[in-house]
Symmetry: C2
Subunit: 212 residues, 2 copies
C-alpha cells in the first residue's frame, strides 16, 4: 500500500485507544464536555467554537476541561472518534439479528438515518474534519468501509450477493446513505420519506443481488 | 414545497444570472482571477485565503480585483457557480452522443472522474461552501440532481430503466460518484481503478435496469 493510500493502518490503530476517565464521576464529566462540544462545534464550526463556550454549556469550570482534553483539537478528535464508534456499534447491534443480508442492509440504513436525526450536527462536524485533520477524515470513512467490506465479503462468499469489488460497493453504499441523509434529514429536517427509503433499498438490492 | 425545503427555486433563478465581463480582455482577467481563486481557496480554505494572494497569483493589481468582484464571498460564489456549470456542460456534451442510457451513465461517470482529477481542489471548495453559504451548498447539489432527474425520468418513461423515485436515484448516484471520487481520485491521487469503475457501473445498472 502506497504512502498516499486512502488510510493508514498504524494510524488507525493508534486512534483506537480509548481515553476513558478513571472514575464514573470523571467519565460523566467527560461525557458532558463531549455532548456540549457536539453542539458547539455543530453550530459554530471548529474555528468559531471556543473552549469557554464548551465548558459553559457543559456547566463545568474551565480548568476542569484541561483535566480531560489538552486542547480544542483533542476534544474535536475524541468527539469524531466517539460518534464514529457509537454509530458503528448501533448498526452492528441493530443488524445482528437480521435473518439475511437484505434485512441487515435495510436495518443498517434505517439506523443510520435515525442516528443522524439524533445527531444533526454530525454532518457539519464530519465535513469540517478535513479542514482540521485530514487523516482523521480518511479514518472516519475508512473505519465504516472496513466493517462494511467484511459484511459484503461474507455475503458474496455465501452467494447471497453477486461478486463486485467489495471496497467499491462499500464506498458506493456509504455515499448513497450520506447523500440521502443530507437531502432529507439534514436539508429537509424530516425523516427520510418512505418512498425514498424503499427506492434506495430496491436500487441497492438490484445492484448487489445475484442476476436471476 | 416547505420553506426549509432542499433548495429554493427563486434563489436558483437569481443565481443563474451571469457576471460576464463586457470585453474579451476583461473576461480574460476575470478568468485569471477565478483560476487563481480556485488554487488559493483549495489550498488555504475560504477563511485562510486572501484577496491579496489571489491577485498576486493571478498577476493582477489588487484594485483590479474589485472591478470584477466586490468581495471574497462573491468570487467564491462565482467560482462555485462556474465549476458547477462547467462540470454539467462537460457531462451534457459528453453523454449527448451516447447510444443508450447505459452508455450515457458510463460516460457521465468517466467525465466526472476526469473533471475532478483536473480540479482536485473542487472537493475542498464544495465541502467548505456549507460553512460559508449554506444555500449555495444546497444549490450546488440540487443543480446536478435536477439534470439527472430529467434524464432518469426519460429513461424510465421509455422503459430503459425501471421506475424508482427519480429524485432518490439521482441523489444516490451523485453520492456514489462523490464517494468513489473521494476514495480514489482525492485520497489516492490516482485515476479510479478500472475494477472500481466497472464494479460501480454494474452496481448501478443492476439497480436501475428493469428486472428480467
Amino acid at each position: 500500500m502506497k504512502a498516499e493510500s486512502g488510510y493508514n493502518r498504524t494510524e488507525n490503530k493508534k486512534r483506537e485507544r480509548t481515553y476513558q476517565a478513571k472514575t464514573d464521576r470523571g467519565e460523566a464529566t467527560r461525557q458532558k464536555l463531549l455532548l456540549a462540544a457536539e453542539e458547539v462545534f455543530g453550530e459554530k464550526g471548529f474555528h468559531g467554537a471556543s473552549i469557554v463556550e464548551i465548558t459553559l454549556k457543559a456547566g463545568v469550570a474551565q480548568g476542569t476541561f484541561y483535566l480531560y482534553f489538552p486542547s480544542k483539537e483533542t476534544i474535536f478528535e475524541e468527539l469524531v472518534r466517539e460518534l464514529n464508534h457509537d454509530l458503528r456499534r448501533e448498526i452492528s447491534v441493530g443488524v445482528s439479528g437480521a435473518k439475511n443480508r437484505q434485512e441487515a442492509e435495510e436495518r443498517g440504513f434505517q439506523i443510520f438515518f435515525a442516528f443522524i436525526k439524533e445527531h444533526r450536527n454530525l454532518y457539519r462536524i464530519v465535513q469540517e474534519i478535513q479542514f482540521v485533520d485530514e487523516e482523521l477524515y480518511k479514518w472516519y470513512y475508512s473505519k465504516f468501509a472496513e466493517g462494511y467490506i467484511e459484511g459484503l465479503e461474507k455475503a458474496m462468499a455465501a452467494g447471497e450477493y453477486r461478486y463486485l469489488d467489495p471496497e467499491t460497493v462499500a464506498y458506493a453504499m456509504i455515499g448513497v446513505a450520506e447523500f440521502l441523509g443530507m437531502r432529507w434529514v439534514l436539508w429537509q429536517k424530516e425523516d427520510i420519506p418512505p418512498k425514498a427509503l424503499s427506492a434506495a433499498l430496491e436500487l441497492i438490492m438490484g445492484g448487489v443481488l445475484p442476476r436471476q
